[in-house]
Amino acid sequence: PLHSKPQAVITFPGELVSNRTDLQLAESYLLRFGYTESEGKTRSRHVSMGKALRRMQKQLGLEETGELDASTLDAMRAPRCGVPDVGR
């Protein structure tokens, strides 16, 4: 049998959305689309993340878990309009 070589994953130059962690992706998504405020305005990062996730899940018709689950991450990676969902 053929032995498949281990897949190499590289960072492609010029790619803006690189290897962010899921948490980093979520934080930037929630901030960009108005579900959270910038740091300094939030009282508790953890509490605000859960609340913001619920708000986002409700707005986008996802199951409201308040958790960074697979369907929420998929939604965050989906192509979309750049206009914020909440606020100005």
Partner: protein, 571 residues
């Protein structure tokens, strides 16, 4: 639907737009057509008109750009953010921007519109056969000038119908050369160029000189993408080069090796390992028409909708046969009205309230009869399906009741399509006025509550108490009328008015402490100016005009539809 804060809208209906530049992905005529169709989506259902300007300041300025493109809201490369637009107003307000790191198509893959030849500008047909071989890209085989061409039917050998594919050897776009083709080599900043370049620009667009010396003549144009051009990466617009070397392996087609996301890519030189030049291979792309129609919704004053099927939902999805969703229609008509589109169906005028002079808080009847007399229809030709909207809808004894201007119809929940009526409200409930804002049946006692203006009546069988003022319930003067009611378990009912709601304890006939609350805090995604709210089959229904929003008990809007067709089951 949602509108922007303050209901931002244009103060005139004759709007103008201007296309500032084009994308290399699509022929200019295809782009113009996509924008025109996108505007038509909105003008079809409103009094708005859209005229195109070729110069000067238009209400809606449209441009393609990449990354930071001058407004402080940068795009993010391929995928992710596709476009954005600003709400109505002066300056950048109203403008729509499209991310040119996306691959713009009509939603189903590359559109290669031909020029010249004998195909009258038809699109390439891939694959096509030429001299017995099948091709899925434009080719320069059979020509000595290197111009790429394609057949516009499946078989060139039999049909001989062809056209030339987009190429810098044929024409440029935008710039200052009226579409003249590139001249190679050309001199820029003292250096000679044999191909289109992004040098001298920060936006990544490929350009060329259209004379032998840009330095001398300053004549230039932008290069259209060839059908083999890559998207994004660091070689936007350059063609794939096959074969190429990647991690010492040779590839003769696009690959997803080296990536975790499965996207296909290729190198744009023969060796990625040494040159690190790459881009994504063309995919289905994003429909410029659909994205533009969404963005123009913002330009007109619509914010994002939470209805997944609505055009104004923030995520992109391709729809083959596009029709504007009722949620979008009611949103835009909320701002601008209906226009000269399909005329609304005949709507009977509201009958003036005959009971307004009655004293409040009086018991008018206390009878023994357990049930009101079964009414007989007043005019069978008066059809519920001709009503545009209803004053109130509620379920009484297992039948949906639709109240309108002194009449009501009944529809059996179990027998769909069987509509009875109209019946006179006064014949069944003599104490009631013609206009009923809201009605509900208490789950426990089966008492019927009717609301009209700031008054309410309670029927038990044929006995009635009322009218009484809603202040007796603890509802202040901020509520001009009760627009809807939702039974919540035993003995509790939510009463809606404006953008607030109260929780009524039916037994004590008082609203609970802690109310009113904002409807939007709990029922996000439904119209805040719903003229009727009712419970039907365990789900919340919010009505506005002809439409209803159905919300689950978990507060998720799961459907928007027509009252007439989906609830009344009209043909």
């Amino acid at each position: 639907f949602l509108t922007f804060e303050g209901d931002l809208k244009w103060d005139h209906n004759d709007l103008t737009y201007r296309v500032l530049n084009y994308s290399p992905d699509l022929d200019a005529s295809v782009i113009d057509d996509a924008f025109a169709r996108a505007f038509k989506v909105w003008s079809d259902v409103t009094p708005l008109t859209f005229s195109r300007l070729q110069s000067g300041e238009a209400d809606i300025m449209i441009q393609f750009g990449t990354q930071e493109h001058g407004d402080g809201y940068p795009f993010d490369g391929k995928d992710g953010l596709l476009a954005h637009a600003f709400p109505p107003g002066k300056g950048v307000q109203g403008d729509a921007h499209f991310d040119d790191d996306e691959f713009w198509t009509l939603g189903t893959g590359i559109v290669v519109k031909t020029s010249y030849g004998n195909a009258n500008g038809a699109a390439c047909h891939f694959p096509f056969t030429f001299e017995g071989q099948s091709y899925s890209t434009c080719i320069s085989e059979g020509r000595s000038d290197g111009l790429p061409w394609c057949a516009t039917t499946p078989n060139y050998d039999t049909d001989k119908v062809y056209g030339f594919c987009p190429s810098e050897l044929l024409y440029t776009y935008d710039g200052n050369s009226d579409g003249a083709k590139c001249v190679f080599p050309f001199i820029f900043d003292g250096k000679s160029y044999d191909a289109c370049t992004t040098d001298g620009r920060s936006d990544g667009y490929r350009w060329c000189g259209t004379t032998a010396s840009f330095d001398q003549d300053k004549k230039y144009g932008f290069c259209p993408n060839r059908d083999t051009a890559v998207i994004g990466g660091n070689s936007q617009g350059d063609p794939c080069v096959f074969p190429f070397t990647f991690l010492s392996q040779t590839y003769s087609a696009c690959t997803s090796e080296g990536r975790q996301d499965g996207k296909l890519w290729c190198a744009t030189t023969s060796n990625y390992d040494t040159d690190h030049k790459w881009g994504f291979c063309p995919d289905q792309g994003y429909s410029l028409f659909l994205v533009a129609a969404h963005e123009f919704g913002h330009s007109l004053g619509l914010d994002h909708s939470s209805v997944r099927e609505a055009l104004m939902y923030p995520m992109y999805s391709y729809i083959k046969d596009f029709h504007l969703h009722p949620d979008d229609v009611s949103g835009i008509q909320f701002l601008y009205g209906r226009g000269s589109g399909p005329a609304p169906t005949t709507q009977a005028p509201d009958i003036p309230d005959q009971a307004t002079t009655q004293a409040e808080d009086t018991t008018t009847t206390e009878g023994d009869s357990p049930l009101p007399t079964e009414p007989s229809p007043v005019d069978p030709s008066s059809d519920a399906c001709k009503m545009n909207s209803f004053d109130a809808i509620t379920e009484i004894n297992g039948e949906l009741h639709f109240f309108k201007s002194g009449n009501y119809w009944k529809s059996s929940v179990s027998r769909k399509g069987a509509i009875q009526g109209p019946f006179r409200i006064s014949a069944t409930w003599p104490a009631l006025p013609a206009l009923i804002d809201t009605a509900f049946q208490d789950v426990l006692t089966k008492k019927l509550f009717f609301f009209s203006g700031r008054r309410f009546w309670v029927y038990t069988g044929s006995s009635v108490v009322g009218p009484r003022g809603i202040e007796k319930l603890g509802i202040g003067k901020e509520a001009e009328r009760i627009s809807g009611a939702l039974q919540r378990g035993r003995g509790k009912v939510l009463l809606f008015s404006g953008e607030k709601y109260w929780r009524l304890d039916v037994k004590v006939q008082k609203v609970d402490k802690g109310y009113p609350r904002l409807t939007d805090d709990t029922f996000a995604g439904v119209p805040l100016n719903a003229h009727d709210v009712f419970l039907y089959q365990g789900k919340y229904h919010f009505c506005m005009d002809r439409f209803y929003w159905r919300m689950t008990p978990r507060y998720q809007v799961e459907q928007v539809g027509y009252v007439k067709y989906d609830i009344l089951n009209c043909p």
